[in-house]
């Protein structure tokens, strides 16, 4: 017990209490009037929105003669939650985007790297100082939430869930900003990218909400990725693998996992430190993909949203995992090719020895393993969720075809990443080029889907003839095409490496 306590105390001391990054960042952040100015402006804005909601509802009540006290409390809290969420999405990039990039720009990172701090303590310190400031902002609005509670229409549990989701959201957003700041290296670039990311993040949620509106009472955890949504549906549950789980718990797990992965990714990518945490990162990525596939794709709401018109419930799986796995594959399978003399390129890339090492050796084995496990988790979740009785008879053959498609897509992304690693000096260029290839192939594949679903009348202006391939022919043809391109890429890699030298660092 004493050992346990001393371990906790020393961990707390190393990572928070005596973490020089936390102390320095908090000293500078809270020095001067800026931090307090922002806090006061933030509270004023939230208060003004609550007042506006109050007057709009009471005016409406007076005009219609309906006493709407309960509606007032609920509407005020929804107003508070949305204002808080949107302001946080604006404030967080400002708080975290410069965290690491400013150290690069001012060249202070070199001196810190030469000290005895490790990269994880460094990025964790940056995260804690930014997160603590966000927490001050979030907690400062609690008295306003109390006022909403007094009007009724909202329960203390709903407020607690909304605040919990807001805090977890801040954690995840701070890790996104931290990662961008670490990878981009320029404060302006990292900030712009973060704001762009936030825009798409809001849009994605908008898409889910649109689905909810058009398809009826579908409730999904991904709507809670925007914590403001918890103000009206934070207490809902979803059936995952036949078990009812509160949406808030799924959201918290997904966001925490994403945040931890990004935190480790930042620690592994920060300059001037050896990337000693890359192995932990690979394990975390694998776990998070499997958990995400089980919880996310197992969610009954997603099954309904993404199920194809043919009724094959498994079709949602490749739709969702395709993009993320291909993105991961093209990142993992790009880097310096340090093949030992005498070893063939295929055995170098497919060796199982260095499965978790942050090297190109064994990269294709890693992406294959992660793809198989993720797809299996997603399919299992669908299977248990649908119940064997309601499964389409073609489920198993369709699932196998889709697995083939997922592997084909992932290998295409990985093998083009390998080839571009041999062709280009810069890893970033190799990743971008690989992504372009995957996007083009993906567009061709989903283009033909869109063409068939939307019908020839939509394309009347074009001279494209309609094809009537059934689903499985399209999948097999596309998969074979991807496998062929992959094989060609890998066959060309050795020569390309000798001629162009490949990615250096």
């Amino acid at each position: 017990m004493n050992n346990y306590k001393s371990f906790l105390a020393s961990t707390f001391d190393t990572y928070i209490q005596d973490n020089p990054i936390v102390i320095r960042d908090l000293r500078t952040r809270m020095r001067g009037l800026g931090a307090f100015g922002l806090l006061i402006s933030y509270l004023l804005l939230v208060s003004i929105v609550i007042c506006i909601v109050f007057y709009v509802i009471t005016d409406w009540g007076a005009a219609t003669g309906i006493t709407a006290t309960k509606r007032i409390g609920s509407a005020m809290f929804i107003g508070l939650a949305w204002t808080q969420t949107i302001v946080l999405m604006i404030v967080i990039p400002g708080v975290i985007s410069a965290a690491v990039s400013k150290e690069y720009e001012k060249k202070t990172i070199e001196m810190v790297a030469l000290s005895r701090l490790n990269s994880f303590v460094f990025v964790f310190g940056k995260l804690v100082s930014a997160l603590l400031y966000c927490l001050v902002l979030v907690i400062s609005t609690l008295p306003l939430a109390g006022i909403c509670l007094m009007f009724g229409g909202i329960s203390p549990e709903e407020i607690a869930v909304t605040y919990l989701l807001t805090i977890v959201f801040c954690f995840m957003m701070c890790t996104v900003g931290l990662y961008l700041s670490t990878v981009v290296g320029k404060t302006t670039g990292a900030g712009l990218l973060f704001y762009t990311f936030n825009w798409f993040y809001l849009m994605q949620t908008g898409f889910v909400i649109a689905q909810i509106i058009t398809r009826g009472s579908i409730k999904t955890w991904s709507a809670l990725m925007i914590p403001a949504n918890a103000a009206h549906s934070g207490m809902e549950s979803a059936t995952v693998c036949g078990v009812s789980i509160p949406l808030a718990i799924i959201t918290v797990v997904v966001q925490l996992l994403t945040g931890v992965v990004l935190l480790y990714a930042s620690a592994a990518r920060v300059r001037h430190w050896r990337s000693e945490r890359a192995e932990v990162l690979r394990i975390l990525l694998l776990i998070s993909f499997v958990v995400w596939a089980t919880l996310g794709l197992g969610d009954s709401a997603f099954r309904t949203i993404f199920a194809s018109s043919s009724g094959t419930s498994s079709s949602a799986a490749p739709m969702m995992v395709f993009g993320y796995l291909a993105l991961l594959a093209s990142i993992v399978a790009t880097g310096p090719l340090r093949k030992p003399h005498g070893q063939s390129m295929m055995s170098y890339l497919f060796t199982a020895k260095n499965l978790l090492k942050p090297e190109m050796s064994g990269a294709l084995t890693y992406v294959t393993v992660i793809s198989l496990l993720t797809y299996m988790a997603a399919s299992a979740a669908f299977y248990f969720n649908a119940g064997s009785g309601s499964l389409d008879p073609t489920y198993w053959s369709a699932a196998l075809e889709q697995l083939m498609l997922v592997l084909a897509a992932v290998w295409l992304a990985a093998s083009t990443g390998v080839l571009f690693s041999a062709l280009f000096r810069s890893r970033t260029v190799a990743v971008i080029m690989s992504q372009v290839v995957v996007t083009v192939v993906g567009m061709i594949y989903y283009g033909q889907y869109a063409y068939r679903f939307l019908g020839p009348s939509f394309f009347n202006g074009y001279t494209v003839g309609r094809t009537d391939w059934p689903d499985h022919v399209g999948i097999i043809v596309t998969s074979c095409l991807c496998f062929a391109i992959s094989a060609a890429c890998l066959a060309l890699t050795d020569n390309a490496l000798q001629k162009f030298g490949g990615v250096t660092e």
């Binding site: 005596d18 020089p20 102390i23 320095r24 000293r27 500078t28 020095r31 001012k106 060249k107 202070t108 070199e110 001196m111 810190v112 790297a113 030469l114 000290s115 005895r116 701090l117 001037h272 050896r274 000096r425 030298g501 250096t504 660092e505």
Partner: protein
């Protein structure tokens, strides 16, 4: 203390450092000199573990820096040529940050900070904001940070660059103090006369290759072809020159701008008194007889071709 074996750093378009071999003994103060773009900063950054070498090995205290990076980092103090400071903190907070980063015990931090501030003559600026310090003071603060964890090897890249003459002298005095403290120092600088004051060894690098390295006086002697004697005479200088030209072991005789006679002596070290004896016995009034001061600038100009890689 420091051993470099066949160190090479290649970039796509150039070879910054080419098969460099160098050794620095414990307690040595080695001046690392070379023209701009010669590869000095690249070499120092590789020694400091911030830059990875393309090939070759670096050993610090017998440890390979690629295998024992963490241990090596605690042994070295690196002061870059262009360094950044956290300007929005106070001087003591800045040093406290690094004291904590170097994991100095909490109870030792404040006394250590006070000690290094005293050594760098910044005690009066304890509560000042870093942004308010002059360039020279910031340079000294950076040096204070560099020695905070009591490193055995100091890597100083142009520590006096961009400073006014007074600040430069102050930095030089500080470096002399560090030499007295027994630190091993590898210092690159353009201000060669000042390096000569406290370096016992030099290494000259050009186009990424080591041109010459070793004991300062030894190299001087090699460059000049012997020991240079500076002789001041009260009168009859031309006659003295004629005599010296015929004296045994004197290879070259010239005069400097002050009128002193400069004689290159190629005999054994410790036998140069024979020259003085010869002059005195021939009735010359010798009012000064000394070994000429080491002039690194001459060595530098002689051993480098002025090429820039």
């Amino acid at each position: 203390m420091l051993r470099i074996e066949n160190l090479t750093k290649m970039y796509p378009s150039l070879t910054a450092v080419d098969s460099l071999n160098l050794e620095v003994e414990a307690g040595d103060i080695m001046g690392f000199i070379g023209p701009n773009g010669a590869g000095k900063t690249t070499t120092i950054r590789m020694i400091s573990t911030l830059l990875q070498a393309t090939s070759g090995r670096i050993y610090i205290n017998g440890m390979d820096i690629t295998e024992h990076t963490e241990e090596v980092r605690s042994l070295i103090g690196y002061m870059p040529d262009f360094f950044g400071l956290y300007e929005d903190v106070k001087v003591w907070e800045y040093l406290d940050f690094f004291a904590s980063a170097y994991k100095l015990p909490k109870e030792k931090r404040l006394p250590t900070i006070k000690d290094v501030l005293e050594l760098t003559d910044l005690s009066a600026k304890y509560e000042a904001m870093v942004s308010e310090l002059s360039r020279g003071m910031q340079q000294r603060l950076c040096l204070a940070k560099t020695i905070l964890h009591d490193p055995k090897l100091l890597l100083l890249d142009e520590p006096a660059s961009g400073l006014d003459p007074r600040a430069r002298i102050e930095i030089c005095e500080l470096l002399k103090e560090l030499r007295r403290m027994g630190k091993t120092i590898l210092i690159s600088s353009h201000i060669l006369p000042e390096l000569a004051d406290f370096c016992n060894k030099i290494a000259v690098i050009e186009q990424g290759r080591l041109v010459v390295s070793g004991d300062v006086e030894e190299i001087m002697r090699k460059c000049r072809g012997g020991l240079v004697l500076k002789i001041r005479l009260a009168e009859r200088v031309p006659e003295a020159i004629s005599l010296l030209k015929t004296t045994e072991f004197v290879s070259e005789v010239t005069t400097d701008e002050e009128g002193s006679v400069m004689a290159t002596y190629i005999g054994e070290d410790g036998t140069q008194h024979n020259v003085l004896q010869s002059l005195v016995s021939n009735g010359f009034k010798v009012i000064g007889f000394e070994e000429a001061r080491v002039d690194l600038q001459d060595v530098f100009m002689q051993v480098t071709k002025g090429l820039v890689s």
